[in-house]
Symmetry: C2
Subunit: 240 residues, 2 copies
């Protein structure tokens, strides 16, 4: 199993031909893929990621029982039921509900990856479950960092490094310099992830948005034992 | 002085509007920007980088005294006087000569950067001289890694990290996660650069091309005290 890392959607075109029939892991730690896992962990009946605000609104108009979630530039979209904070998706609010989510970066990365045979979604909160399903699937894997508006960011890169590190221990083969870079950074950050990230652009943006408590949720390990897959247009929880 | 890092030409469009009237440092350690510095260090009268093989051939047809250098996919172009190994450009061969160079990645990054007010060129071999002129110029700087066919590579990223680290000590301000990542990697690689790079894609490509001795030239510090600038279509040595 070869391991590649796509450091931002802006680099995706270099890999577009390669991902067909392979595994892709979508990484948007702050906060899209973290929130998607929380929704399913807290009992959402279904979660559908869509690329645009308009599509989310249209689905809600067709089915008013749907709950729609999303942000643009980090803020909740007007008229939506939720923003993109993982803390909003409590069991009380999402259990048994059908949700739609659209985000700046995470759903974009997802929509680019449809040629893959397996699309996984998640973050630190379900890392062990993700590593297990990826290793079991055995196909080459592309760790796809959603980044921030095309830019490489530290938190997604670090998670790619963490997953690569775990997969190498299970026989995976590092296959590009981006993966080597991500693993190198993970090596220096892993003992103090929050400290290492304290200077990161996205973390500073969160602090300015008074959303620091989200960071704790997004950077905590293995609070969920569910891998999440994107299949037939919706996210599905796969217990490990 | 703000410090940004562009990890590959594929990411350049995110910065295209920002570089106007700023400084850009073009980094293609293996081997274009290293070779450009060697040419000037060894007394070339002028060095003109061009984007295409055809343009180099046309210039040579117009002026047969020109020496043309370049590679595609790492190999010397048929009919050229030189490939792209820094060891080819000896004092004996280049002193007083006018050279033209075209390479896969380095000249591409250069041609993207023409809106900048200052374009610097180099690598580990003239690092101190580059840091000095960049710090003296005081404008925001973009460390532009040429990468490999759009992909991020380790050696260019590490040099960006090394330069950023030196500029921070002179008052520069790290301004994006790509720079933070590059500096983090430089921190772990600096005590054993060749060892750290031994797994890198580009280094392995060199080993398969039997060009390992080029690595020593490209990874040695400060064998030249000349910063190199790109001005009016040609490279100019600026003694420090």
């Amino acid at each position: 199993m070869k391991i590649h890392t796509i450091l931002s959607p802006q680099l995706f075109s270099l890999f577009a031909k390669d991902i067909a029939n392979k595994q892709v892991l979508i990484i948007d730690i702050l906060r899209a893929t973290t929130s998607m896992v929380v929704m399913l962990e807290n009992g959402a009946e279904s979660v559908k990621p869509v690329a645009g605000v308009e599509e989310a609104m249209r689905l809600k108009n067709e089915n008013p029982a749907l709950l729609i979630a999303g942000e643009r530039n980090g803020f909740k979209v007007d008229g939506f039921d939720f923003g993109n904070s993982p803390q909003e998706f409590t069991e009380e609010k999402v259990q048994g509900k059908s949700l739609v989510i659209t985000t700046t970066n995470g759903t974009q990365a997802l929509s680019l990856s449809l040629e893959a045979s397996h699309i996984w979604v998640g973050g630190f909160l379900n890392m062990d479950a993700l590593v297990k399903v990826i290793a079991n699937t055995q196909k080459d894997v592309y760790l796809f960092c959603a980044g921030w508006k095309g830019h490489v960011n530290l938190e997604d890169t670090l998670f790619a490094g963490a997953v690569a590190d775990a997969l190498v221990k299970l026989g995976g083969v590092v296959s590009d310099d981006a993966t080597r870079a991500a693993m190198g950074l993970w090596g220096i950050a892993q003992d103090d992830l929050q400290g290492f990230l304290s200077e990161a652009s996205h973390v500073q943006r969160f602090q300015s948005m008074h959303a620091e408590s989200d960071l704790d949720v997004c950077l905590k390990f293995n609070t969920s034992n569910k891998a999440v897959a994107y299949e037939n247009g919706v996210l599905v929880a796969i217990p490990s």
